[in-house]
C-alpha cells in the first residue's frame, strides 16, 4: 500500500507538471495569431513571405495558422490530467454531495475502474494507431505549403490520454489507500484526494483596496 501511495505521488507530480507546463502554451499561441494578423496587413512582410513560398515551397501564413491549432491541440490534450487532479472537470453533484467521504471514494473508485480507465486505454490504443498510420504514410499538411510531419501532433493525442491515465491511476491508488490502508495511509490518501464535495472546490479569492484580485491567495496550481 505504501508503494501504491508513493506511485500515486509520482504520477500526480508528472501529470500536474506536464499540465502546468502545457498551460503556458497559450502565450505563444496568442503571439502567433497576433503575428499572423499584423504581418498580413503589412506589404513588405507580405512580399517577403511570398518569396519564401516561391523559393522554399512553404507559406509563412499557412505555417502560422497550422501552428495555431497545433499549439491549441497540445494545450487542450496535455491539460486533461491536470484538470482531473485539480477537480476542474464538471460533475453533477446533486446526489454525491449528500454522501459520506467514504461513499464518495467508493463511487470514484468504481467509476475509475469501470468507466475512466478502460475508456482511456481504448482511446490510447486507437490514437496510437492513428499516429502510427500517419507516420507510415508520411502525412503532411493538406495545403502542401503548411507545416508537415502531421504524426508529431497526432502523437500528442496518445500523450494527452496517457497523462490523463496517470492522473486517473494516481487518484485510483489514493482511493484504494483511503479505503483499505492502515490509519496512517488512510490519512495520507485523504490529503491527496481532490474530489470531496465538502472541501471548497473554488479557490479562495480576495480583493485588495483597489479592487484588484490579490495574487497568491488562491492557488490555481495547487500544491505539489
Amino acid at each position: 500500500m505504501d508503494f501504491l501511495l508513493k506511485t500515486a505521488g509520482v504520477f500526480d507530480k508528472i501529470a500536474r507538471g506536464i499540465g502546468k507546463a502545457a498551460s503556458w502554451l497559450i502565450v505563444p499561441l496568442v503571439f502567433f495569431i497576433i503575428f499572423d494578423v499584423v504581418t498580413r496587413k503589412i506589404d513588405w512582410i507580405k512580399n517577403l513571405s511570398a518569396e519564401v513560398t516561391i523559393n522554399y515551397g512553404y507559406s509563412v501564413s499557412f505555417i502560422l495558422q497550422d501552428l495555431e491549432w497545433h499549439f491549441h491541440g497540445m494545450l487542450l490534450l496535455l491539460t486533461f490530467g491536470f484538470g482531473y487532479l485539480m477537480n476542474a472537470h464538471v460533475r453533477v453533484d446533486i446526489f454525491r454531495e449528500h454522501c459520506s467521504r467514504r461513499r464518495q471514494t467508493w463511487i470514484e473508485t468504481l467509476g475509475l475502474i469501470i468507466f475512466a480507465i478502460p475508456f482511456l486505454l481504448v482511446m490510447i490504443k486507437f490514437s496510437f494507431d492513428m499516429a502510427y498510420a500517419s507516420f507510415l504514410q508520411g502525412e503532411g499538411s493538406e495545403s502542401q505549403v503548411g507545416l508537415g510531419w502531421r504524426w508529431i501532433i497526432k502523437s500528442f493525442l496518445v500523450f494527452g490520454f496517457l497523462v490523463a491515465l496517470l492522473a486517473a491511476l494516481a487518484t485510483l491508488f489514493r482511493c484504494l489507500g483511503y479505503l483499505f490502508g492502515n490509519p496512517a495511509q488512510h490519512a495520507e490518501a485523504e490529503q491527496g484526494i481532490q474530489f470531496f464535495t465538502d472541501v471548497g472546490v473554488l479557490p479562495k479569492v480576495e480583493l485588495d483596496e483597489n479592487g484588484v484580485e490579490k495574487t497568491g491567495t488562491g492557488k490555481p496550481g495547487g500544491e505539489g
Binding site: 499540465g19 502546468k20 502545457a22 498551460s23 503556458w24 497559450i26 502565450v27 499561441l29 496568442v30 503571439f31 502567433f32 495569431i33 497576433i34 496587413k41 503589412i42 513588405w44 495558422q65 491549432w69 491549441h72 487542450l76 490534450l77 491539460t79 486533461f80 491536470f82 484538470g83 482531473y84 476542474a88 472537470h89 464538471v90 460533475r91 453533477v92 453533484d93 446533486i94 446526489f95 454525491r96 454531495e97 467509476g111 469501470i114 468507466f115 475512466a116 475508456f119 481504448v122 482511446m123 486507437f126 492513428m130 493538406e142 493525442l157 490523463a164 464535495t197 471548497g200 473554488l202 479569492v205 480583493l207 483597489n210 479592487g211 484588484v212 495574487t215 497568491g216 488562491g218 490555481p220
Partner: protein, 539 residues
C-alpha cells in the same frame, strides 16, 4: 425463457440499444463522476455490447478518435481552427479579471447613476452588460462581480435577495453576449458561421439586459427601502481640470485627422492609419486618465476606455470583416494583456495564475468534448438518432408545439446540467429535427419557403441561427436555475457568510422569470436574432 432471452438480444436490444444508452448515461451522470468519464465509460460499455450483438464493429472507436481529431473543416477538437478561439477567449476573460478594468467601470457607473432609484443595482447591470461584451466566459466573472459589488450593496442596505439576483443575472450575460465560448461551440456543432451567431446574439442580450434594468428600476421606485439611494456627500467628484480636457480633445482630433487626411501630409500607405489613430486615442485616454486622477473626467476615461478598446478590437474586427472570430480572439487576448500592463497588474505571478486557470478551463471544456464525441459517435452508429426521430414522429406534433417542447426540455435540463453537457450532447440530437422543420417556420421569419436548393439551404440556415440563439438564451438561464445554477454556486463561494443560500435562491426567481420572458420575446420576434447579421453580412 430462453426464447424470450433470444428475442431480447436479437430484436429488442438490437433495435433499442440507443434508448438504453441514453438512460444509462442519465444514471451515470448522476453518480457525480466527472461528466467526461461518464460519457466515455457509457459509450465504451455500450460499444462492447453493440459489438457483442453484432451491431457495430470495434473499429467504431477509431471513428471516435477521428472525430476527436477533426480535420474535415467542421467537427473535431484538435485540427479545428474555429475552436482555437476558445482558449484565447478564456485567457482574455481570466486576464481581464486581473486587471482593474471592472472595478474602474463600476466606480464611475455608480457615480453617474447615483441619483436614479436603485442606482447601484443598475450600475451592476450596466457593468455586467459592458463586461459581457469583453469576455466570453462566466464563472470567473460572477466571482469578480460578487466580490466587487456585493459587500458595497449590503453595506448600503440593499435587500440581499435583490443584490444577489442582480449580480448573478448580470454576470451570466457574459456567456450570451459575444464574444462567447458557448456560441463558438454551438456554431461548430451546428456547422454555421461563428461571426453570424455572435452578431445575432447581440440584440437578444441587450433585450435581456434591458429587462433587468426596467425590473430593478420599477422595484426600486416602488419600494425604496430595498435599494436605498446613495447619500450625495458620500461620493463626490470634481468634474475635471479644463486644461486636461482641452489637451485630450486636441490630441484626439489630431489623431483622427491623421487617420483620414494622412495622404495630405504624405504619410506612408503601408501602415493602417485608422488603426494607428484608434490605438493613439486609447493611449491618450489612458495617459490623460492617469494624469487626471480621481475626477469625473478621469474616471470616465479610465472606466470606459478599456472596455471600449477591447470591444472595438474583438467585436469591431469581426463586424468589419477584418478578422475571423479566431483571430479576433487572439487579438482580444493580447489586448487584455495590454490592459493589465497599462493598469500595472501584469506580473509573473498573475501571468502564471492566468495561464493555469486557462489550462484548467480549456481541459474542462475539451474533456467533455472528447466524451461527448465518443457518446454521439456510438449513438449514431447504433441508429440512436433514428430512434429519436421516430419518437418525435410518433408524438405527431406540429412544428410549433415541438419547438416549445424542445425549449422546455432544454430549460428543464438546465436545472441539473451545465451548458457544456447540454450543448455537446443534446444540441446535435435536436438540430436535425429543427432542420427538417425549417420550411414550417419560414413564414414566421418573414421568408419564403425555398424552391431551389440554395433557397432551401438559406431558409434552413436562418431557422438554425434563430434556434441557436433561442437555445443560447435558454442555456444562460441554466446558470441561474437552482439547485444547480453554476452562477449561484460561484456566488455563494465568495459572498459574505451572512448571505444565505435561501436568499440567493429567492433573489434569482424574478430574474429567471425575466429570462423566460426574454426567450418568449425572441420566439415571437425572430428578427431580433436575424436582422443584425443580415445587415452586416448581407442577404
Amino acid at each position: 425463457m430462453l426464447e424470450y432471452w433470444e428475442w431480447f438480444i436479437d430484436d429488442h436490444l438490437y433495435e433499442y440499444i440507443g434508448a438504453y444508452m441514453f438512460v444509462a448515461l442519465a444514471l451515470a451522470l448522476f453518480t457525480g463522476l466527472p461528466v467526461a468519464f461518464a460519457l466515455g465509460g457509457i459509450s465504451l460499455i455500450f460499444g462492447l455490447i453493440a459489438v457483442w450483438i453484432d451491431a457495430v464493429d470495434f473499429q467504431v472507436f477509431f471513428a471516435v478518435i477521428n472525430r476527436v481529431w477533426g480535420g474535415d473543416g467542421q467537427s473535431g477538437a484538435v485540427q479545428n481552427p474555429i475552436l482555437v478561439a476558445i482558449p484565447c477567449f478564456v485567457f482574455m476573460g481570466t486576464m481581464l479579471e486581473k486587471s482593474r478594468v471592472a472595478a474602474d467601470l463600476l466606480h464611475i457607473l455608480q457615480i453617474m447613476l447615483k441619483r436614479v432609484p436603485g442606482g447601484l443595482a443598475l450600475s451592476v447591470t450596466v457593468m455586467g452588460t459592458i463586461m459581457a461584451a469583453t469576455t466570453g466566459i462566466i464563472g470567473a466573472s460572477v466571482v469578480m462581480m460578487t466580490l466587487l459589488a456585493l459587500p458595497t450593496m449590503l453595506k448600503r442596505g440593499y435587500d440581499p435577495a435583490l443584490a444577489t439576483g442582480t449580480i448573478a443575472a448580470s454576470a451570466t450575460l457574459g456567456i450570451l453576449i459575444p464574444p462567447s465560448i458557448m456560441l463558438v461551440l454551438m456554431a461548430n456543432l451546428l456547422v454555421v458561421s461563428v461571426g453570424n451567431l455572435f452578431i445575432g446574439a447581440i440584440l437578444p442580450g441587450l433585450v435581456l439586459s434591458g429587462l433587468y434594468f426596467v425590473y430593478i428600476l420599477v422595484r426600486a421606485s416602488l419600494n425604496p427601502s430595498i435599494a436605498p439611494p446613495i447619500r450625495d456627500d458620500e461620493i463626490d467628484m470634481q468634474p475635471g481640470k479644463p486644461i486636461n480636457i482641452l489637451i485630450y480633445v486636441g490630441l484626439c482630433v489630431f489623431a483622427v485627422f491623421l487617420a483620414y487626411e494622412g495622404d495630405v501630409l504624405g504619410l506612408s500607405e503601408d501602415i493602417n492609419w485608422p488603426l494607428m489613430a484608434f490605438l493613439a486615442v486609447f493611449g491618450i485616454s489612458m495617459f490623460i486618465g492617469k494624469r487626471e486622477g480621481n475626477t469625473l473626467f478621469g474616471g470616465i476615461l479610465k472606466g470606459f476606455m478599456p472596455p471600449i478598446f477591447l470591444i472595438v478590437l474583438v467585436l469591431g474586427s469581426i463586424f468589419a470583416g477584418w478578422a475571423t472570430p479566431t483571430e479576433a480572439a487572439g487579438v482580444g487576448a493580447f489586448g487584455s494583456m495590454i490592459l493589465a500592463w497599462v493598469n500595472g497588474t501584469l506580473t509573473y505571478n498573475v501571468m502564471r495564475e492566468v495561464c493555469h486557470r486557462t489550462g484548467l478551463t480549456t481541459a474542462m471544456i475539451f474533456f467533455i468534448f472528447v466524451g461527448a464525441t465518443a457518446f454521439s459517435t456510438l449513438f449514431r452508429n447504433v441508429y440512436g438518432e433514428d430512434l429519436i426521430i421516430e419518437f418525435i414522429e410518433w408524438l405527431e406534433l406540429s412544428p410549433w408545439p415541438l419547438l416549445l417542447l424542445l425549449m422546455f426540455a432544454v430549460f428543464m435540463l438546465g436545472f441539473f446540467f451545465d451548458f457544456l453537457e447540454i450543448t455537446l450532447i443534446i444540441l446535435p440530437v435536436f438540430a436535425p429535427v429543427i432542420r427538417v422543420m425549417a420550411p414550417a417556420f419560414a413564414p414566421h421569419l418573414g421568408l419564403e419557403p425555398g424552391t431551389n436548393q440554395a433557397a432551401i439551404d438559406f431558409v434552413e440556415d436562418q431557422v438554425i441561427y434563430w434556434f441557436a440563439i433561442l437555445v443560447a438564451v435558454n442555456l444562460q438561464t441554466s446558470f441561474l436555475t437552482p439547485p444547480f445554477g453554476f452562477a449561484l454556486f460561484y456566488m455563494k463561494g465568495v459572498a459574505p457568510s451572512s448571505v444565505k443560500m435561501q436568499e440567493i435562491y429567492r433573489g434569482i426567481i424574478p430574474f429567471v422569470t425575466l429570462q423566460v420572458i426574454g426567450i418568449l420575446i425572441v420566439l415571437e420576434f425572430p428578427q431580433l436574432a436575424l436582422w443584425l447579421p443580415s445587415l452586416v453580412f448581407g442577404k
